[in-house]
């Protein structure tokens, strides 16, 4: 382990300062503390979703559901229009004596396409909003951060925060009695 004091001097090439916790509860508490302290640019990392954590670090609702709704609409409309266009415009045939626009028969396709497009937007939208794929990220510089995907919980206050100040921030974090506090190099 490298000793904190030294690294803190290179504030300019810091992404932020990170504190490690043992359990979700303390992380949640820490995050709320930080916010009270007035920190804004921060992120919390946990091996599984933790209720209230996102809100605690000031994350306001997500757009995913709106996208999905739009996707669903397009899918449904597209599905029905496709069937209608094929049977009425593209090549009108007398099929089994049914009218050209046998709309009841188009329901299944309409529905399936709605679901298909909605689901695709859900996943693609989620990834895009999360800015993924993003294989490189400064937090990975921290070696212990590997355990964020196993059993440890991290709070990272980012250098971009106007209130960020290497020494002060570090001392603030240490006050939250974490396992450890470390710098996140850029």
């Amino acid at each position: 382990m490298l000793s904190e004091t030294k690294v803190s001097e290179h504030a300019e090439n810091l992404h932020g300062i990170m504190a490690e916790f043992d359990d979700p509860e303390s992380l949640l508490a820490a995050a709320q503390q930080a916010r009270l302290e007035g920190y804004r640019d921060m992120d919390a990392y946990a091996p599984m979703p933790v209720e209230g954590l996102a809100e605690a670090i000031g994350f306001r609702g997500s757009w995913v559901q709106r996208l999905v709704f739009l996707g669903g609409l397009c899918g449904a409309a597209g599905g029905f229009m496709l069937c209608w266009w094929i049977t009425v415009i593209a090549y009108p045939h007398n099929v089994a004596g049914r009218p050209l626009n046998s709309w009841p028969a188009y329901v299944p396709i309409t529905f399936e396409l709605m679901v298909l497009i909605a689901c695709i937007t859900a996943v693609v939208g989620m990834l895009m909003l999360n800015g993924l794929p993003q294989p490189y990220h400064p937090v990975f510089n921290v070696e212990r951060f590997a355990r964020a995907s196993r059993d440890k919980f991290f709070l990272c206050i980012e250098a971009s925060d106007p209130k960020f100040e290497p020494v002060a921030t570090r001392q603030f974090l240490e006050r939250l009695n974490p396992q450890e506090v470390m710098d996140v190099a850029l």
């Binding site: 045939h93 007398n94 099929v95 089994a96 004596g97 049914r98 009218p99 046998s102």
Partner: protein
């Protein structure tokens, strides 16, 4: 007709033989999607696969392969490429000719139609005639002159034959014999007679295995001289058939008889003032005629003789109640009744029948006598017997066999082959190098009738000229040309010979016109024989009655009959006929031992058992088929199977009934024993369910019931409200095609099935595939039994596509490969079909057929010739079905359009309709209230199959009406 213009033929011949022609023929033929069998199209397969993966084939048709197009060098002027030509000619079966019109595409005969001008056809055909065009292209036909089995030439053959003649000539022709089938051809007869005149010691024998032996000797017995009998069923109120299957093609004139009889039935059904005819039949095995009968007396073939005797005893004397009832009816219809004896009944029976008809005053009214149509009527049995005797005695040095196959079909007790081996020079001329050819020093290929100049007489004596449509494909020659060799006129063509004969016998100087007209019409005017008043038939004395009535020795009886499909065996190698379901049991590719259920139980055998039948020491083994309606203690077996040198199609299938057939029991014999050998023989039938299973696809009623309830065919619960649909109905503004099938006329003869096969390039699939349930016939004839298993009524129902207006098949096709046309046709687009087979599942009539493999034969080039260029040849993996002969509809419409006139009723005739001898099928425009089909559909008997499903079928049926004798009505 310039068809005798030599250049024409030469260029055609060349075309026929060159690769160009083949290429051309191929190009006439539609899309072959890849067949993995041959490398060329294997590449095609991969190409298409690649295409589908790359989506390059976004248009389904990838790059067209290079195709060449080959024009004539000198184009015959009457020929318009792309339009078919029709030539009138005639086809002879067992010597009796029937007029046909042969359709020719660019010199390729592709289809046979009946000749409306010809009295024996009136435009109708039977299955054999339809199939004859396939025989023309049969690659198994003999293709070369052979000497002791090795290839030789016509030159050396002529030398050999002339040599033999000259040797015989030294002794006035002694030891020179000619064997032919029954000959009606005036030309050929004259040629032979001239030969005999030159060589008086030579002899001419005639033998046809299924000829009219009994009929001939019957007439001799009754009148002391041979007379030909013609029946006028259109005039008959009461018909008593004594084992006479006059509606099936085994009887000369059957097409005409079927037409007359059905016309009468139809008239009666449509017009209450016309008395419906009543048909009684006594027979041992169910026949198509039996299926039309109002009363079916089931008795052994021997019993039929007894029954005849019973009838002869007269009103009071008759023993059986049936006979009494029949006699009463006959008495009531003197002069308007027919008693007809079966071709295969004993001569005495015929003699009796002649007497009975005379007694009933039918002669000259419903029963007409004329001179015999045979050029040289003689007792063919004694003729062959003599020949064999002489051969055995070594009295025969040269035997010239013109057609025929005696080694296979001569009576077994003669052991023809042994005798034949004693003949020094044996010459055979025939379509096939058959069993007989195998034992002849010389075999020469015979020309098919579509390649021949000849002539022949119909059942009523009408003479027709047989003219060729194509040069002999395999260099065959006609009997005329062979006879010319003997007359030292080897270079004279059959054309000149035939023309010569008629010129010689033509009075007046307008011969050329006469000749042209005769060729064009297909009949020679004024050649039908005039009616003859016969001498009083030999009186029937009680002794004769007693002897005839004496019931045959008890015990099992065996009955020999020509096969319903392949006849006496001459047609065995025709795959269409082999795969044509036999009317009575829907069996294909086989013959079987028919037995009644009761007898089967008695002898401990059942369907599928292989039994050994023994008659007078001769044995044959064949599989058993339990046939409802078969008489007890009576076996029926059919000829035409068990061939050894017929060709790839027929060799080794079925068993040979001839090996059991003695001269003294030509058609039936008693004292036969059967022994069960093994079981589990697999038949290939196209229909497995025998009955209607409490359903009523086929609807019938007696006249009494019909008058009581005229709507019997469409009871309330079967009808659907016209507008019973969630959706508005489609309107069909221009045409509205529909079809009506009269079950009251249909005899189940299968002519329509084969006509359809020929018209629509329907492939043959073979026994295994049929057994799997994959037969391809677009138009199937369903057979149902009704009533007790022993003696049921037998019904036939032709089932083509119904062209439903609310077609269930269309609804479920994912690629719109089957949709409706503006004229209400249920279109099937082969090239769009991907083969989900969903349409077939959803078709309540199961009329769709699927190409599970590549059934179309793309390996046998000679068979390309038979295909109809106006119909796609379907490839592997696509669905197909009846199209109402769309190619005919389109061409008729185009012709009408070009002449700027509407399509007239009758312009469009479907193949099945055209072939049907009973005129049971009528096609036309339902929007035209005066069209025949529209009128028929307005009849009360009209009903739709499964119409309660609201499929709105365009094909509907007219219910069957029966006219039983109240006195004899069962129950």
């Amino acid at each position: 007709m310039k068809s005798d213009e030599p250049l024409y033929w030469r260029s055609l011949e060349e075309l026929a033989s060159t690769d160009d022609f083949r290429a051309f023929v191929e190009d006439e033929f539609p899309n072959r999607t890849p067949d993995w069998n041959d490398p060329e199209s294997r590449r095609g397969f991969l190409r298409v696969m690649g295409a589908s993966i790359l989506l390059v084939g976004a248009s389904a048709c990838t790059r067209q392969p290079k195709e060449v197009i080959v024009p004539y060098v000198r184009q015959p002027e009457e020929l318009i490429p792309g339009n078919p030509l029709f030539y009138a000619t005639a086809m002879s079966v067992a010597g009796i000719a029937t007029g046909v019109l042969a359709e020719s595409h660019l010199g390729r005969p592709t289809k046979i139609e009946g000749n409306p001008e010809h009295p024996a056809s009136l435009g109708a055909t039977d299955a054999a005639m339809q199939a004859s065009v396939l025989t023309l292209y049969d690659p198994d036909r003999s293709q070369t002159v052979t000497r002791n089995g090795s290839i030789s030439g016509w030159g050396s053959f002529i030398t050999a034959l002339v040599g033999a003649r000259d040797v015989a000539g030294l002794k006035k022709g002694l030891g020179f014999r000619i064997l032919t089938g029954t000959v009606t051809s005036p030309t050929l007869a004259t040629q032979i007679q001239n030969f005999l005149a030159e060589f008086p010691a030579a002899k001419w024998h005639q033998y046809d295995p299924c000829g009219r032996h009994s009929v001939r000797s019957g007439a001799m017995a009754a009148f002391g001289k041979p007379l030909n009998t013609i029946y006028r069923f259109d005039r008959a109120d009461v018909i008593v058939s004594l084992d006479a299957d006059f509606l099936s093609s085994t009887v000369p004139g059957s097409l005409r008889y079927a037409r007359d009889y059905s016309t009468r039935r139809r008239a009666a059904a449509e017009n209450p003032n016309v008395a419906p005819p009543r048909l009684y039949i006594a027979e041992n095995a169910p026949s198509v005629t039996g299926s039309m009968a109002d009363h079916h007396f089931r008795m052994t073939a021997a019993g039929v003789a007894g029954f005849t005797a019973d009838l002869a005893r007269g009103g009071t004397g008759a023993a059986s109640p049936e006979a009494r009832g029949v006699l009463k009816d006959l008495e009531a219809h003197r002069g308007s009744s027919i008693v007809i004896a079966g071709e295969h009944q004993a001569p005495q029976v015929h003699a009796f029948v002649h007497a009975i008809n005379q007694a009933l005053g039918n002669v000259g009214k419903t029963v007409i006598y004329t001179d015999p149509v045979e050029a040289n009527p003689l007792d063919e049995i004694s003729s062959i017997v003599d020949l064999v005797k002489d051969m055995r005695d070594g009295a025969v040095e040269t035997l010239l066999i013109l057609g025929g196959n005696p080694v296979y079909d001569a009576p077994a007790d003669l052991s023809f082959l042994d005798a034949l081996k004693r003949v020094k020079l044996r010459v055979h001329s025939g379509l096939y190098s058959n069993e007989t050819a195998a034992w002849c020093h010389w075999h020469v290929p015979e020309a098919h009738y579509l390649e021949s100049w000849s002539d022949g007489r119909a059942y009523d004596g009408t003479a027709s000229i047989v003219q060729p449509l194509i040069m002999p494909l395999y260099g065959g020659k006609t009997a005329h040309e062979v006879m010319n060799i003997l007359a030292n006129r080897a270079d004279q063509s059959a054309h000149d010979t035939v023309r010569g004969y008629w010129q010689a016998n033509h009075k007046g100087d307008d011969f050329d016109d006469f000749w042209q007209i005769s060729l064009h019409d297909g009949v020679i005017a004024g050649t039908s024989f005039p009616e003859k008043l016969p001498p009083a038939a030999k009186a029937i004395d009680p002794a004769a009655i007693a002897s005839l009535g004496a019931t045959a020795p008890a015990g099992l009886e065996i009955v020999f009959r020509p096969d319903p499909c392949v006849g006496d065996g001459t047609l065995s190698n025709n795959a269409w006929l082999q795969e044509m379901p036999k009317p009575q049991n829907k069996m294909t590719w086989d013959n079987a031992v028919w037995i009644s259920s009761k007898s089967a139980e008695h002898y401990g055998v059942t369907t599928g058992d292989v039994v050994e039948i023994e008659l007078k020491g001769r044995k044959v083994a064949g599989p058993v088929w339990i046939m409802p309606g078969q008489a007890d203690e009576s076996l029926t077996i059919h000829f035409g199977y068990g061939r050894t040198r017929a060709g790839k199609v027929a060799d080794g299938i079925g068993f040979d009934a001839y090996t059991l057939r003695p001269t003294d029991a030509l058609w039936q014999g008693t004292g036969v024993s059967i022994r069960r050998k093994s079981d589990g023989y697999k038949f290939a039938n196209t229909q497995h369910t025998q009955t209607m299973e409490e359903r009523d696809p086929f609807r019938a009623a007696t006249y009494a019931e019909f008058h009581k309830d005229p709507e019997f065919a469409r009871p309330e619960e079967k009808r659907v409200a016209k507008d019973l649909s969630l959706f508005p109905l489609w309107e069909y503004k221009q045409h509205k095609w529909g079809m009506s099938i009269d079950l009251n006329s249909c005899t189940g003869c299968n002519a329509c099935t084969i006509a359809c096969q020929s018209e629509n390039n329907i492939p043959v699939v073979g026994k295994e595939e049929v057994a799997k349930g994959r037969h391809m016939n677009w138009l199937r004839v369903d057979r149902y039994f009704k009533g007790p298993l022993e003696d049921p009524e037998m019904y036939f129902q032709p089932v083509p596509c119904m062209h439903c207006e609310d077609a269930l098949c269309e609804l479920v096709c994912p690629v719109a490969a089957t949709v409706h046309s503006a004229e209400g046709l249920n279109e099937m687009v082969y090239n769009r079909c991907v083969g989900t087979r969903y349409c077939s599942n959803n078709c309540p009539y199961k009329v769709r057929r699927f190409n599970f493999f590549l059934y179309a034969d793309w390996n046998t080039e000679s068979l390309f010739g038979v295909r109809n260029p106006d119909v796609s040849v379907r490839s592997r993996g696509v669905m197909e079905k009846c199209s109402y002969c769309i190619q005919r509809i389109n061409s008729a419409k185009i012709d009408a359009e070009k002449q700027d006139r509407p399509v007239k009723d009758g312009d469009i005739v479907t193949a099945c309709q055209q072939a049907c001898p009973a005129q049971a099928i009528v096609f036309g425009d339902l929007n035209n209230p005066n069209s025949r089909v529209a009128k028929l559909k307005r009849q009360q008997r009209d009903y739709g199959l499964l119409e309660e499903l609201n499929t709105r079928p365009r094909t509907t049926y007219l219910a069957r009406l029966r006219n039983p004798n109240p006195d004899l009505e069962k129950g």
